[in-house]
């Protein structure tokens, strides 16, 4: 919910501005990775205007607060689901419909971190992206 994000925003001393609400709404509704200019266009189509600089700054903030996430493969932004394992982000991206799905699994994370540790690597955070077909697109 946009309201949840706004509340977190305010709890950290940030203002609940109209541009921030607009960006959060777009991210929430779309559920696909969006570039800053994508977001600008979507809003423009709705008769809303935000300067691209503003959008960049809002996305920076949201990522900092872990309310949004920058996808590695596409560079687009998505709204975070709230249940991620600390220091680990895992996404599935459907090549067909473009939908993304975030998921978290403590076991997978531990397995991977342990593997790295055995190679002498001290893991700070960890990103993982699957590309393929979601259940709906696979059936077709």
């Amino acid at each position: 919910m946009v309201q949840d994000s706004i509340r977190i925003l305010q709890a950290q001393g940030h203002k609940a501005t109209k541009p921030r609400k607009l960006v959060l709404e777009v991210l929430e509704e779309t559920e696909k990775p969006l570039s800053p200019y994508n977001i600008q266009e979507i809003l423009r189509a709705r008769g809303q205007y935000l300067n691209h600089v503003t959008i960049y700054r809002i996305l920076d903030l949201l990522c900092h607060l872990n309310l949004a996430h920058k996808m590695l493969s596409s560079g687009g932004f998505v709204k975070c689901s709230m249940d991620a394992v600390e220091g680990c982000h895992r996404f599935m991206v459907c090549q067909h419909c473009g939908a993304i799905q975030e998921f978290a699994d403590e076991g997978l994370c531990q397995g991977e971190n342990e593997f790295a540790r055995n190679l002498g690597f001290h893991t700070e955070y960890h990103l993982s992206e699957f590309s393929g077909l979601c259940s709906q697109c696979y059936r077709k």
Copy 2:
């Protein structure tokens, strides 16, 4: 080895040109993610000149042939090590020295793919990046 990559290149019907050798050499020597313009600069410092368009195209080709890989976090390119598990790339990036290390583990891949499958996702390929400290930098 650059020679190995060149051989693969030719086996697929591509020419072993001077620009391609130069880019491969830089990637091999540097062992850190490099942007196209990074590569251009390094070459320039050696008195070699390549147009940036050429470098973009060479990197495209190398990635297609799985001889190079575009890092997710930085967008920079690295030379692939040859032992990656099919459809799965896994890297460790040291936050301190910037070095990257590719590694492969059949077991990890299977675990992750199975996890995705249980969620109804049909995985085509899979990318994973660890960020942290390599063994040498961690000791300090």
